[in-house]
């Protein structure tokens, strides 16, 4: 299967504008008189179709990066452009719209609603996107098909394995055709078999040209990506293409 976007993997070719761009991004948390500088001015550009792992130990600031990239938190300094839009000046409602249209989240804890069957979980972003009902069901089922759960539409999360639940979450992230898929420790709660399962799914999405940003503290997981951004103490200390990408 050859996706035309897959050929535009390398950022150097024809110099398109980056999908994600952080410039001098800084974040300081204040709690009373105590200040904590979580991000100390980060520059980062991610291009369409890239598969990037943001890698670092806990407390390195990678979760803050994830929250900022996901428009769940705002910067105190610097600039964040997502798909060309400066996100920093947007209000709550506009941020909600950006999250809905541009970002597909995959969380460590799956975050599925236990009372709803799989396809209803998957359709959630479409509800907030104002997509009509009949189209939502169709698209939710297509997304579940794509992650290999074509026969699990009506199952509730409790009836699915951890790996399957995370696939449902991936389907939910994909269903709105977002600009990027943002995965926060997606394999953190999974056994090794399910981990491979989910990572294989990401490989496949990457091959089809999706932009994926994966946040992890496990090198083994990070190495599946084409590019690894190493973060420590709120700074990017290394930004490199992996052997797999080089190969």
């Amino acid at each position: 299967m050859v996706d035309p976007s897959a050929t535009r993997l390398a950022p150097e070719t024809d110099v398109p504008a980056p999908v994600i761009e952080l410039r001098g991004a800084g974040k300081t948390y204040r709690s009373g008189s105590i200040e904590f500088e979580a991000l100390k001015g980060i520059d980062l550009a991610i291009y369409e179709g890239e598969y990037v792992a943001i890698m670092g130990p806990s407390g390195s600031g990678k979760s803050t990066i994830m929250n900022v990239l996901g428009c769940l938190d705002t910067l105190t300094r610097g600039e964040y452009r997502l798909g060309g839009t400066d996100v920093n000046d947007l209000d709550e409602v506009e941020l909600a719209e950006i999250r809905n249209r541009q970002i597909g989240f995959v969380f460590q804890g799956f975050n599925l609603l236990l009372s709803l069957p799989a396809w209803r979980n998957v359709e959630l972003p479409l509800i907030y996107g104002g997509i009509p009902r009949h189209e939502r069901k169709q698209r939710a089922e297509q997304a579940l098909d794509r992650v290999g759960l074509g026969d699990r539409f009506e199952n509730r999360p409790g009836e699915l394995s951890g790996g399957q639940q995370q696939r449902v979450a991936v389907a939910r992230a994909l269903v709105g055709e977002p600009t990027m898929v943002l995965a926060d420790e997606p394999t953190g709660n999974l056994d090794s078999v399910s981990t491979q399962d989910v990572l294989a799914l990401f490989d496949e999405l990457h091959a089809r040209g999706r932009t994926i940003v994966l946040i992890t503290h496990e090198l083994e997981v990070a190495q599946r990506a084409a590019r690894i951004v190493w973060v420590r103490d709120g700074e990017v200390i290394r930004d490199e293409l992996t052997e797999e990408a080089a190969a």
């Binding site: 929250n67 996901g70 769940l72 938190d73 709550e92 409602v93 909600a96 719209e97 999250r99 809905n100 249209r101 989240f105 969380f107 975050n111 609603l113 009372s115 709803l116 959630l124 972003p125 509800i127 907030y128 996107g129 104002g130 939910r172 709105g176």
Partner: protein, 410 residues
């Protein structure tokens, strides 16, 4: 996100916590049912009371012997006081001394056993005059009433109440039959139409005989001229107080009493009694409705409580929905609709329970309950308003949650 989608989301949340939702709804339900029932009971009692006005005859004054101060109008039993006599009643009939009194009916009542064929029935036997039918605003369903002639001759004739006739003769033709009262045979000359019952007696279970017959044959002795009640009919509603004055003056003169506070009789007007009773029932209704409304308030606080629990329990869900693109307005709406659903279900089920109870209870407690559609509609509306207003705070709290804090919560 459309209202319909918000409603679907809210409904599935209510539905998936069925037990909790049911208990919350129960709080509202009980409050609404209580309000409907108490208001209905109040209205029903007022209806009963006003029905008594017409059953007792219009423009009626009641003269009772003794200086009874019983404001409820309960008369002493026959013979307990004998200060009123048939002579008083005759004097009141004078159009010179009492021009505003158009009708007088003296009653002498005692409880006696009636026998017909093999049937025995104890009822209140009333001796009275021909004017009774008009003054008490009663009608006959068969035969005729006691005439002046019967009175003069102390005729042994009797007019039966509809229920008494039924008990003694069943479905047989009643007029022309014989009834034995105190070993004396009476001929039935008429049957009264049904008039229901007032607060103290069954108006359909009576036997009416001529006053003279009752005085001489049934009671006899020194008490023969005493009457238990004199009913006076004013010539019209506006003359009621004039009639009252005339009756009082005349009776005080006849009894040689100069001070009206020392009177050995009491005159009461049925309207005054009714309005007193109505006022009492109204106060009672307001009080009970207040208590019921209070329980509605408690129900509303229950809704708020459960919504707050729901918000903190579903903090993660709220965070997730926000991450997936739900604006604060959609979250607020979801929780508001949830609260409104709880309120509305409580209101509808409460109205259902209230109306059902209003249909069943009268048979059990014996007083009528009037369900007014306005009260039902209003209380359902109140239930929704309670749901929403007690839902505003929890919903706003949910909408204000920062998505990342919400997602992080365990």
């Amino acid at each position: 996100m459309s209202w319909l989608e918000s409603f679907r989301t809210s409904w599935s949340a209510v539905y998936s916590h069925a037990l909790r939702s049911t208990l919350t709804v129960l709080g509202i339900l009980i409050g609404i049912a209580a309000v409907i029932l108490t208001v209905g009971l109040g209205l029903g009692t007022q209806k009963d009371v006003s029905a008594q006005i017409s059953s007792l005859g219009s423009n009626l004054l009641i003269v009772a012997p003794g200086s009874s101060t019983d404001t409820a109008g309960v008369r002493g039993g026959f013979g307990s006081s004998s200060t009123l006599t048939i002579a008083d009643a005759e004097a009141l009939e004078s159009s010179v001394n009492a021009p505003d009194i158009s009708g007088v009916a003296a009653e002498k009542t005692t409880s006696l056993s009636l026998e017909a064929n093999d049937t025995n029935w104890t009822t209140s036997v009333t001796g009275t005059t021909a004017s009774w039918l008009d003054v008490r605003a009663r009608t006959l369903s068969a035969g005729e009433f006691i005439s002046a002639d019967d009175e003069e001759k102390s005729a042994s004739v009797v007019v039966l109440g509809s229920e008494t006739a039924d008990e003694l003769f069943g479905s047989q033709r009643v007029v022309g039959q014989s009834v034995v009262i105190s070993d004396k045979t009476f001929q039935v000359i008429g049957v009264l139409d049904s008039a229901g019952s007032d607060s103290s007696s069954n108006l359909d279970d009576v036997a009416i005989v001529p006053f003279s017959t009752a005085a001489s044959v049934l009671v006899g002795g020194t008490e023969s001229s005493a009457v238990s009640t004199i009913y006076l009919q004013a010539s019209n509603g506006g003359q009621l107080s004039a009639a009252y004055q005339e009756a009082e003056t005349l009776l005080l003169n006849l009894h040689s009493i100069s001070d009206s506070t020392a009177a050995d009789f009491t005159i009461s007007s049925q309207d005054a009694l009714v309005s007193t009773a109505t006022a009492v029932y109204e106060t009672l209704t307001i009080l009970l409705t207040g208590v019921a409304a209070l329980s509605l308030l408690v129900g509303g606080i229950g809704v708020m409580n459960i919504m707050l629990v729901s918000v903190s329990e579903r903090t993660r869900e709220i965070g997730l929905r926000k991450a997936l693109g739900a604006p604060p307005g959609a979250i607020r709406r979801q929780f508001l609709i949830e609260a409104a659903i709880l309120g509305l279900s409580g209101g509808l089920l409460g109205a259902l329970l209230g109306v059902t109870a209003a249909l069943i209870l009268p048979g059990v407690i014996g007083s009528s309950i009037v369900v007014s559609p306005a009260a039902v509609g209003l209380s359902i509306g109140v239930a929704i308003v309670i749901g929403i207003s007690f839902g505003v705070y929890p919903a706003t709290r949910a909408a204000r949650l920062a998505p990342i804090d919400a997602l992080r919560s365990e």
